[in-house]
Structures are given as structure tokens and as C-alpha cells.
């Protein structure tokens, strides 16, 4: 078992709900302070976005963050160099798109992540059918390749995905892109529950988890949540690491005290 999954399982098995914030890499000079602050606020894993010019699965907030980072000169190499200089104390996972991976070559890309101290990889436009070479490359570097399950995924296919994925199962809460929503759809919890019956991997819910209430609701069914746009909207609006961390702390609180 790779380090990321070892960690996620351990947290889950301790009865703690996982909190996984997403932060766009390279957005501003001191962007890694946000990673550190997130960890400090109680993140169990930090997802780091490697911005791509054409982020097909991202909603307006993360699009804007990616564009801003690229416009400011962010590169994969630069971001990884920044990452290599920090130790947030929890695992980091990279989130990016297929083209950045394949352009470098899956092997070299995975090696670069590992060299920077990253433990996991999420590539939303590489579905399970296309995952083979990337799986092998990740495994060779002891990276976990996190796969996504969508509400549209047929039952048999879920089996395949949870089998081929590692680190955790990324459960997409709704048919849509990343972005804040007022509440999670009912069906999201049911999907997480169904997935938990299929796998022993921690099952996390993402997409549209925007508030403490939503996080608490998600945690009723899932092993944790991934929070992206809600954090990034604040970062884009100029929130300091402490302020963004403060927001994450409210989520941590909600996850830790489900009955409040």
C-alpha cells in the first residue's frame, strides 16, 4: 500500500472524517502558505491543482484560479519546486488534466511528483478505460492514482473503478463541474453508501461541498469531503492563509461534531 492510501485508511479507521481541501498551485507568490495553513486547520490531505489552460471539468471559480495562475507564469516545474520546499505534515495529491501528464510522459510526470513529495494523483479526464499506462507509472513511483465515480457511472463500472483506483474513491456528488452549490443532492449520499459497500477504500464526496452544513451532511454517508471552489473563491478574493484556514477549520469542526 502506498503512503497516501495508508494515511487515508488510517484516518478513516480512527473514525475521523477526512477533510481534503483543493488549492490551485502557483496562484500568488506565497501560495504554499495556504497549503500549510490548510494542514494546520485540519486538512487530512491537500489536493494541489496543477493549472491547465483548458480545464474541462472545472467550474468558473477554479477556471479563474487556473487562468490567474497561468497568467502569473505558473508552471508544473515551478509548482513542484515550491511543493518540494514545504512539509505540511499531511500527504499532498496533485490534481491536473491528461495533457500535462502525457506531454511529459506518464513515467516522468509521476517521478517528478514523487520527487516533489506528492503522494497522489487525480486526473479527471483519464477515465478508468484509459488509465492503464498511467496506473503503471503511478504504481512505479508509489503514487496513488485516485479515480472518480460519477452519478452516471453504471453499477458494474463502479466495481471496476474502485478496483483500479487507489488512495481513496473520489465520489462526484452531482452531474456537473466543480463549483459551489447551496446543498448536496440527496443522491450523493446514496452513491457514497453504495460505493462503501463495494470497497474498503475510503470514499470521499466532492463537487459542490461549499459549507459546514454540506460537509456535515456529506459525512453522514461518506468518509470525508473534498472542498475546492468554496476555498478558492476566498483565495481569489484575497483571503490570507489564516483566513482561508479559518474557513476550513469550520468544516473540520462540522465534520468532527456531526450532531451540532
Amino acid at each position: 500500500m502506498n503512503p497516501l492510501e495508508t494515511h487515508t485508511r488510517r484516518v478513516r479507521d480512527r473514525g475521523r472524517k477526512l477533510l481534503v481541501p483543493y488549492l490551485t498551485g502557483g496562484l500568488g507568490a506565497g501560495w504554499t502558505d495556504h497549503v500549510l495553513a490548510a494542514a494546520e486547520a485540519g486538512a487530512d490531505v491537500v489536493e494541489i491543482g496543477l493549472p491547465f489552460s483548458d480545464p474541462m471539468l472545472d467550474g468558473p471559480t477554479i477556471q479563474r484560479a487556473s487562468d490567474a495562475a497561468l497568467a502569473a507564469g505558473a508552471t508544473v516545474d515551478g509548482i513542484l519546486a515550491d511543493v518540494a520546499r514545504i512539509d505540511p505534515g499531511v500527504p499532498m495529491a496533485a490534481m491536473t488534466y491528461a495533457n500535462l501528464v502525457f506531454r511529459r510522459g506518464a513515467d516522468r510526470f509521476c517521478a517528478a511528483l514523487r520527487d516533489a513529495g506528492i503522494a497522489g494523483l487525480i486526473v479527471p479526464d483519464v477515465p478508468v478505460d484509459e488509465v492503464e499506462p498511467l496506473s503503471r507509472a503511478a504504481a512505479a513511483e508509489q503514487l496513488d492514482l485516485v479515480l472518480l465515480v460519477s452519478p452516471a457511472t453504471p453499477a458494474e463500472r463502479r466495481v471496476e473503478i474502485v478496483k483500479r483506483g487507489s488512495g481513496f474513491v473520489y465520489t462526484v456528488s452531482l452531474m456537473g463541474t466543480t463549483g459551489e452549490r447551496p446543498a448536496l443532492p440527496e443522491s450523493a449520499g446514496a452513491l457514497a453508501t453504495a460505493l462503501k459497500q463495494l470497497t474498503d477504500l475510503p470514499v470521499l464526496l466532492g463537487f459542490g461541498v461549499s459549507s459546514a452544513a454540506a460537509a456535515r451532511a456529506a459525512a453522514e454517508h461518506a468518509d470525508g469531503v473534498i472542498v475546492g471552489s468554496a476555498v478558492m473563491r476566498k483565495v481569489l478574493a484575497g483571503a490570507t492563509p489564516a483566513e482561508a484556514g479559518g474557513f476550513l477549520a469550520t468544516l473540520r469542526e462540522a465534520l468532527d461534531r456531526p450532531d451540532d
Partner: protein, 392 residues
């Protein structure tokens, strides 16, 4: 000369043309693509579907198109030049061939809504047309910059009842419209069919669109057989944006000795200047920087202003079965004027890329004196008059 044994008749079951193609989309779209794939295979094998499509192409959209001998230009160039006249199709280009096929498929699948990306607006107009014809709601995504450049086509789409959604992200052009349409599709797969405009996108689109466009090549093959003593032309040439008119044309001549030439825009030449990459759901040649950020192409022809190219072309290029060349904006504008004055045909700037190559190739000897050349004129130039007016 015999043709290299390249089999591009259909991709592998997972949508590969050699190393290219595939289906690189979010998990949310995989079942939708699967469904399109299954539905297309069933429809394409169903004589009732084929004959319904045929009837619409013929009775509504203007097929067959003529293969026009360009008498005066041929005489000037010392070759025999035949023009496959997709410019005569309803809405003004070959795009309608594909759209009608996909819209019928969508209807057969029970979908009630079409979405599409568009750059110049030709595919958007074609989709809006099919939507109106079949009574399906239509939404077209278009970059804000293109909306400003192509106001006329925006108005045509709206007149046809389509909703045109401006895209403000990225370079605000075609690639961003495509990205945005994919995002939107994720939210609406249940009732919505994504109608791709070229041999692009996740499997089965590149193959399916090629099949819907092969009517160009199949017709031309038969017409050339009647028109040419040798039965087949020496050279077959078409412009390449996403590559659908070229793929459709080439499909009719893959198993002949004809040299196949795809002409890209100098500033948007994914095959000539691109590298392996994944964009909009498929692997192919892409214009990108060393890290994989997608480049913004530039061509005077808005329909060629795309940083990728259909996977089948990357495959044909690798195997040497087709050759891909580029021409620049200046040559293209000159070609529009030359063809207009010699033959009375004002072609689209996209199509003029193919003409421009022939004009050059005759002078370089790449096309030998006396050669027979079949050229697909993918569209008419009305949409480009404003651009050309600014230049004169």
C-alpha cells in the same frame, strides 16, 4: 504507385486510430459516450436510418453536390482540377452532412436537445438548422471574441431559434467554446446530445463524424470515375481544421493510388507543427507548449483556428498515407480571388487553403503538369466577405 496498406476504415473498439483517439473525458461523460457509440453502431447498421438520412441529405440539404471541372483554372495551371462542391450545401458548407446525421441519431436516442461548439459559426448554424428541422432545442457555445467577429452567423443561429451562449473563458474562441460545451454536457447528459462539429472529441465522435462525412468522398469517387480517363485522380486535396471535410473526402480514396493531401493553416497547423497531446477528449497532435498548455492558433480562416486535429489524420500522417502541408494567410487570400475570377466561385477561406496549395504545388512541381487533382471545396465564402473587405 500503390497505396500503403493503411486501414483507417474504422478505429479499434476503444476508438483508437493507431496511437490516437480514445476517450479522455470525465467519468460523468463516459456512459453518455458509450450510449452514443452503441446508438451509432445500431443506427449505421439500420437501413431505415440510412435511408432517412439519405432522404434528408438529398431532399433537404442538396446532395449530391456536383464535381465541377474548373475549366479555366485548369487551363491556366496545365492540370485537370475537379472541385467537389460542398459550398453548394444548405447552410453553406459540408458541416451539415455531419450535423444531420448526428441530429437524427440524437432523435433516435430520445434526446430532445442539441448542444454544439462553434468558432466561425458554420457548425453552429448547421446545428441550429438541424435543431429547427427536427424540432429540437439547440444551444450553441461560442467564444465571446468569435461572437464579435461573426455577428452575422450569430444572428443566423438565433433566427433559426437556437440559443447562443457566449463563452468568456480562456482565449474566448473555439477551443474554449468546446471546453465549455463539454462542461455543459456533463450537467445535461440525460436529455442533451452533444453534436461535435468535426472529427474530434471522445470516441465515437471522430469515427462517427468521418462516417457522416464520407458521403463527400464516396460521391466524389464515383464522379471522378465518370469524369477521368484514369478513373481516379492523381491527387486528392482538402483543407484541415478539425479535419472532417478532409477525412470524409479521403475516405473515398484511401484504397486508391491517389496521393492524399491535407492543407492546414500555417498558424493552426496541429499536424505540421504540433506534438502528441490530449485535448477535448482525444489524443492526437496538438499545438502546445513544452509543459502541455494549449496554444492559441491564428488563422484568417476561423474554421481552421483550432489547436488540435482529428486523430485519424495523425494516424494517416504517421503512416504516410496522407501528407499534411501548410499555406499562409496571404496565399489563401490570393487563392480566393484567383478562384473567383477564374471560375465564378467565391469559396470559404478554409477551403481556399486547399486551392492555395494547388496553386503553389503546380509551380513547385509537387503537382506535375497534366496531373488530375480532386479538391474539396468545403464551403462558400459569404461568411468571409467582411474579413476580405477589410483587407482591400
Amino acid at each position: 504507385m500503390t497505396a500503403p496498406a493503411v486501414d483507417a476504415r474504422r478505429p479499434t473498439d476503444d476508438g483508437r486510430f493507431g496511437a490516437y483517439g480514445g476517450r479522455f473525458v470525465p467519468e460523468s461523460l463516459v456512459p453518455a459516450c458509450d450510449e452514443v457509440d452503441r446508438a451509432f453502431r445500431a443506427a449505421w447498421a439500420d437501413p431505415a436510418f440510412r435511408s432517412r438520412l439519405d432522404e434528408i441529405l438529398t431532399g433537404y440539404a442538396g446532395r449530391p453536390t456536383p464535381l465541377t471541372p474548373a475549366h479555366r483554372l485548369s487551363a491556366e495551371l496545365g492540370i485537370t482540377l475537379l472541385l467537389k462542391r460542398e459550398d453548394l450545401m444548405h447552410t453553406g458548407s459540408h458541416k451539415i452532412n455531419n450535423v444531420l446525421g448526428q441530429a437524427l441519431l440524437a432523435q433516435r436516442m430520445g434526446r430532445t436537445r442539441l448542444i454544439a461548439e462553434t468558432g466561425a459559426g458554420q457548425h453552429g448554424v448547421a446545428t441550429a438548422t438541424a435543431g429547427a428541422l427536427l424540432g429540437m432545442a439547440t444551444t450553441v457555445f461560442m467564444g465571446q471574441r468569435d461572437i464579435e467577429r461573426q455577428a452575422l452567423n450569430v444572428f443566423r443561429m438565433r433566427t433559426l431559434g437556437a440559443e447562443v451562449v457566449p463563452v468568456h473563458t480562456g482565449s474566448r474562441t473555439l477551443k474554449d467554446a468546446c471546453t465549455e460545451a463539454l462542461r455543459h454536457w456533463v450537467t445535461a447528459v440525460a436529455d442533451t446530445y452533444y453534436c461535435f462539429g468535426s472529427v474530434l472529441g471522445p470516441h465515437p465522435y471522430p469515427w462517427m463524424v468521418r462516417e457522416f462525412q464520407r458521403v463527400i468522398g464516396d460521391e466524389a469517387r464515383g464522379q471522378a470515375a465518370a469524369a477521368l480517363p484514369a478513373g481516379t485522380p492523381d491527387v486528392v486535396v482538402a483543407c484541415v481544421g478539425g479535419g472532417s471535410n478532409a477525412a470524409g473526402t479521403f475516405a473515398g480514396f484511401l484504397d486508391t493510388p491517389a496521393r492524399l493531401i491535407g492543407v492546414e493553416a500555417e498558424g493552426g497547423a496541429a499536424l505540421s507543427h504540433g506534438t502528441d497531446g490530449v485535448l477535448h477528449g482525444f489524443r492526437s497532435k496538438v499545438l502546445q507548449n513544452h509543459e502541455g498548455q494549449i496554444a492559441e492558433p491564428h488563422s484568417i480562416a476561423p474554421g481552421l483556428d483550432y489547436p488540435g486535429v482529428g486523430p485519424e489524420h495523425a494516424y494517416l500522417a504517421d503512416h504516410g498515407r496522407a501528407r499534411y502541408v501548410t499555406v499562409n494567410d496571404t496565399e489563401v487570400v490570393a487563392a480566393v480571388h484567383r478562384l473567383a475570377r477564374a471560375e465564378g466561385i467565391i469559396c470559404a477561406l478554409e477551403s481556399a487553403h486547399a486551392v492555395a496549395w494547388v496553386l503553389r504545388a503546380v509551380t513547385t512541381g509537387e503537382v506535375a503538369p497534366g496531373a488530375t487533382v480532386l479538391l474539396t471545396l468545403s464551403g462558400r465564402g459569404d461568411k468571409d466577405m467582411a474579413t476580405l473587405m477589410e483587407l482591400t
